[in-house]
Symmetry: C2
DNA sequence: CCAGCTGTTATAGCAATACTATAACAGCTA
DNA sequence: TAGCTGTTATAGTATTGCTATAACAGCTGG
């Protein structure tokens, strides 16, 4: 798990951390039970305040991706194999996908290429498990 | 073109307007040359300040989706048929797709269903043209 | 037991963002 | 001329993102 930040991005730092962790779990680099660095440690590593890391972890906990104890620290809770999501989640997620796909199509990306890229990404997930 | 806002959403209003317009173009509801309402008119219709609409239009113009003249107002410039995007755009877009797909997989949405939903959405675009 | 780590909470400050509001100017059009 | 349009400026408010400092509680290794 190596996280690289883009401090010039418009995407908030805590969101970038959250995104990288989610991707790492999808990739299988992080699995159920995997230990994440402490907020203070990761803050030092990334050169940012530990409160910002805390916010990212808080977001991940809210999403059910990780579990945070005073005892065990932050560990991965959710996996691709953890069971199906709430139906309401799928709907909300799909509306975000719809916006993203619409953008690509409007920008002229051929639907066939959209499908190809999507399949390539999906294939790269959890194939390392 | 009917735009509905969610004033309680965490997504900024101007972003919601931008998203709905992009989706409308992808759907074929708005085509190349289609006229968009004036910023003041849409502001009244949506019950918001016209500067917020202006910001959304500005974003759409920056993205190359619409064209804004003092003379003709805002009209759709870009279509699914307007030609291929910059290669750099495709890469940046793919990284956003990657994050979104990773999230779905982590939340337990089966990859097969992800593909199905993606194909359904793509199929709904521009099929009305 | 003590030192050092951890998570958690509180408080504060600063810069930037989102939205609203009012105003004014310029150009097109009926 | 009147009324629409886009454009620009300025300003105020609330919220967000990030940083900073501090303090407390619980776990753990010496």
């Amino acid at each position: 798990m190596l996280i690289t930040l883009d401090l010039f991005s418009e995407v908030p730092i805590y969101q970038q951390i959250r995104d990288r962790v989610v991707e790492a779990v999808a990739d299988g680099v992080l699995r159920e039970g995997s230990q994440l660095p402490s907020t203070r440690q990761l803050g030092v590593d990334l050169g940012i305040n530990f409160h910002t890391v805390n916010k990212a972890y808080d977001l991940l906990r809210t999403e059910g991706v990780i579990l945070v104890n005073r005892k065990s620290g932050a560990i991965v809770r959710r996996d691709a194999s953890s069971g199906p999501p709430e139906p309401e989640y799928a709907d909300e997620w799909q509306s975000r996908l719809r916006t993203l796909l619409a953008e690509a199509v409007v920008q002229g990306l051929p639907p066939s290429e959209v499908t190809a890229r999507s399949n390539a990404l999906l294939g790269s997930f959890t194939s390392a498990s």
